[in-house]
């Protein structure tokens, strides 16, 4: 913690939600809000909670959390951009073989990537070591499509993995895609789906690991890929 932050201050309180004493990845954005905005977040939340005491409708609380996440991350004012690469789909979707990759930190039980040599690292430790992760080379986990949910694990110091742990399809929709392929919406899902911890060295991802993964995908002879940044 910087020397400028007074213990017991509102600044300390806000920052504690971002890898601090009150770490909560859904609300780590509080650390970056002004005092006024952060106070508004809490005041409005509590007011809405009062309404929910009466009607039991939690939707307004969910909407509040969502709206503030969007607001907090809305730091890029311009959406103009240069043209990026574009490869048209060469076959009809109904004949296409499609791969799935998510930066969700999921893996199959028994195939733990063992980050930094640690056996069975828990989500809490992944958060404590977030800076180690951000400096590290990403590692791709291979997951056979259709693996039952109770055999999948999620661990990622950058987002709240509870939803992914309860239902892996919330971030890695492998079962969804198998169903849709069976129904003829597209040709086939590649038999293995992939995940990695997106909180990693972006430089190494772009320069070293990424090109290796591109080769892997090319060798899979797929027609397209669905990518889920989490």
């Amino acid at each position: 913690m910087s020397d400028d932050i007074q213990p017991g201050s509102f600044e300390e309180f806000k920052k504690s939600f971002s890898y601090g004493a009150r770490n909560d990845l859904n609300f780590k954005f509080l650390a970056g809000l002004s005092d006024e905005d952060a106070a508004a977040f809490f005041q409005e939340l509590l007011w809405k909670l009062g309404d929910t005491l009466d009607d039991g409708n939690a939707a307004r609380l969910i909407e509040h959390a969502y709206a503030w996440q969007v607001h907090a991350y809305d730091s890029v004012s311009s959406t103009t951009y240069d043209e990026g690469p574009f490869t048209p789909l060469r076959k009809p979707l109904a004949e296409s073989r499609i791969a799935l990759l998510a930066s969700s930190g999921q893996f199959i039980a028994g195939d733990d990537p063992r980050p930094f040599g640690v056996e069975d690292m828990c989500q809490e430790e992944a958060c404590e070591r977030i800076m180690d992760f951000i400096r590290s080379e990403p590692r791709l986990s291979t997951i056979p499509a259709g693996t039952p949910s109770d055999q999948l694990r999620a661990r990622h110091g950058g987002y709240d993995v509870r939803a992914a742990q309860a239902d892996p399809n919330t971030v890695l929709p492998h079962e969804i895609m198998l169903e849709l392929a069976d129904e003829g919406h597209f040709g086939k899902l590649a038999p293995d789906v992939y995940s990695f911890v997106g909180a990693c060295s972006q430089r190494r991802l772009l320069k070293e690991t990424g090109p290796q993964w591109v080769k892997l995908f090319q060798e899979m002879a797929i027609d397209a890929a669905v990518l889920v940044p989490v």
Partner: protein, 81 residues
């Protein structure tokens, strides 16, 4: 990277990430009205998850230029109980 290597891609990302995604000039992106960590839908909301993936797959076929960013309509919901 995959796109440049000749593999068409579609990204599914949440609304909060839209500014960052747009700045990266994605070939195709479907933006979901969901909170962080629930990109495809709420746990157990199979119907929403299916609709989201179908909309993303549709972009693979219908997008015809880089920077095609489409918002999935509606709002986040939890699995109907």
């Amino acid at each position: 990277m995959l796109e440049a290597a000749g593999i068409p891609t579609v990204i599914i990302g949440i609304q909060a990430f839209r500014p960052r995604l747009a700045a990266m000039t994605p070939p195709r992106a479907l933006i979901t009205p969901h909170p962080m960590g629930r990109t495809i839908g709420a746990p157990g909301d199979r119907e929403r998850q299916r609709q989201v993936v179908l909309a993303a797959l549709d972009l693979l076929e219908t997008a015809d230029h880089a920077g095609t960013i489409v918002e999935f309509p509606g709002t986040y919901r939890v699995r109907p109980s």
